[in-house]
Subunit: 222 residues, 2 copies
C-alpha cells in the first residue's frame, strides 16, 4: 500500500542511504533529502548525493555541520585511513564523535519544521564498520528521546525514525537496491578522498564484499 | 570536593547557562564552552556569551548551526514574538524544532573528541517557557541514547549530561548565581533582537519575575 506521508531522508550518497531513499520512495513517501557537508575527506560523496537526488526527483537541502574539534580520520585528509581490517571488535578511527546523533537531530528538526511523519536513515548493523550509532539499541533509545523532546510530547504527533536496512547484510541491501532501481554507478562509498575508489579503505572493502556476495558486478569497478 | 575532571558547557549568554557554567567552575571542572550561532534573532546573546567566557577564563568555540527549514519565530526577526503569556500549557512559537537535541548532540561530540567527562546544560523545568527539550524525562532518555550511541558502549567511558538547574525556580537560579559570582549585568535574556531588553517577551518576563522573587535588582533594569 502506498503512503501519502511525508518524510525526511538522510542522504550521504552511499549505497545504504540511497537504498533507504529508494525504499521510502517506493513506499510512496513524499521525500525531502538532507545532505551533510561536514568536512568529510570524501567530499566526493556530496556530488553523488546531489546527483542521485536529482535523478530520483527528490528535493534536497545541503547543510553544513561543523566539527571544529575533529576527533576522526574522516575529518582530516592528512591522517592515515585504516585499511583492510573491517568488522573488527574495536571502534575504528573513521568513527566521527556523535555523527549520527547530530545528523538524526538535524533530521528531526527538519521533519518537525515541515510536519513530516518519518526520518529515514540507512544505518545497518550487520556488515558495518563497528560504529555504535548504527545499532538498533541506539536507534530505539534515540527515538525515545525524540518522543520526549519534541512537540509530540504535548501535541501527540510523533516522528518515527525509520531504519529499513537495520537488519540487512550488504549483500541484501544491494539486492534490495537492485530491485528498487538504485543507480549504483552514481553512488559513492570510498572514504579516501580521491577521484576514484581506493579499494583499500573499510568502506571500499565492505562495498566490494557486498557486490561479490550478491554475485553482481559493481559498476564502479574497472 | 573539587573535581579535576573536564567538561563541555553549552553557553548561550543567558542567566541559566551562565549559572551552570559558574556552577561547574566552582566544582573544579576544567571547562570548554560551546556557543551556538544558529541564526537566533537575539544575536546579541553571542556577545554576552563571549564576554562572560572571557571574564571566567573559560576557552570557548562558537559553532554555526544551520536551521534552513526555520520553524520558529526565534529564527525570523520579522515574525511576531509572543508577549506576556509565559508558563502556558501549549508550546510557544519561540520553540525551535529539535534545538536542545541538536545542541546536546554537538556538545557530546565535542566532549567525546576531547575526552571530557560531562556536558553541562542550563535547562530547567520550573520557570521555563514550556519547551519539551528542557524536561527531566527528555534529558534522561537522551542520556540513554548517548550511552548507547558513542564509544562508551564499547570502551566503557561515559559522558554525563549534567543539569544542575533542572529543578530550580528562576528565583533559586538567581540566588545560586549570586553566590557563585555570576556577572548578571553581562548576561542577556531578551529574545526580541534589539539593543536593549524589550521587557515584554517571555524571556524578559521570566527574568524579571526571577529577580523580583529573589528581591534583587536586575542590573539590566534602568
Amino acid at each position: 500500500m502506498k503512503s501519502s506521508k511525508k518524510a525526511v531522508v538522510l542522504l550521504s550518497g552511499g549505497i545504504d542511504s540511497v537504498t533507504s531513499m529508494f525504499y521510502a520512495l517506493n513506499k510512496g513517501f513524499k521525500l525531502n533529502a538532507l545532505i551533510f557537508d561536514y568536512g568529510q575527506r570524501h567530499k566526493r560523496e556530496l556530488a553523488s548525493a546531489r546527483k542521485i537526488a536529482g535523478i530520483a526527483g527528490v528535493s534536497y537541502k545541503v547543510v553544513k555541520v561543523n566539527f571544529p574539534w575533529g576527533g576522526s580520520v574522516l575529518l582530516d585528509k592528512k591522517s592515515k585511513l585504516p585499511h583492510g581490517r573491517f568488522m573488527r571488535k574495536t571502534i575504528p578511527s573513521t568513527y566521527v564523535p556523535g555523527r549520527n546523533i547530530i545528523f538524526l537531530s538535524l533530521g528531526i528538526s527538519y521533519a518537525e519544521a515541515i510536519s513530516a511523519d518519518e526520518v529515514f536513515i540507512g544505518v545497518n548493523a550487520v556488515d558495518y564498520s563497528g560504529y555504535p550509532d548504527c545499532r538498533p539499541d541506539f536507534i530505539k533509545a534515540f527515538q525515545k528521546a525524540v518522543d520526549l523532546g519534541i512537540k509530540s510530547v504535548v501535541e501527540g504527533k510523533k516522528i518515527k525514525i525509520s531504519v529499513p536496512l537495520i537488519n540487512l547484510s550488504k549483500k541484501e541491501i544491494i539486492e534490495l537496491g537492485l530491485k528498487l532501481g538504485v543507480p549504483f554507478k552514481d553512488t559513492w562509498s570510498c572514504y579516501s578522498g580521491g577521484a576514484n575508489p581506493c579499494n583499500r579503505c573499510d568502506s571500499c572493502l565492505i562495498r566490494r564484499k557486498g557486490f561479490q556476495d550478491a554475485g553482481i558486478k559493481d559498476p564502479l569497478d574497472r
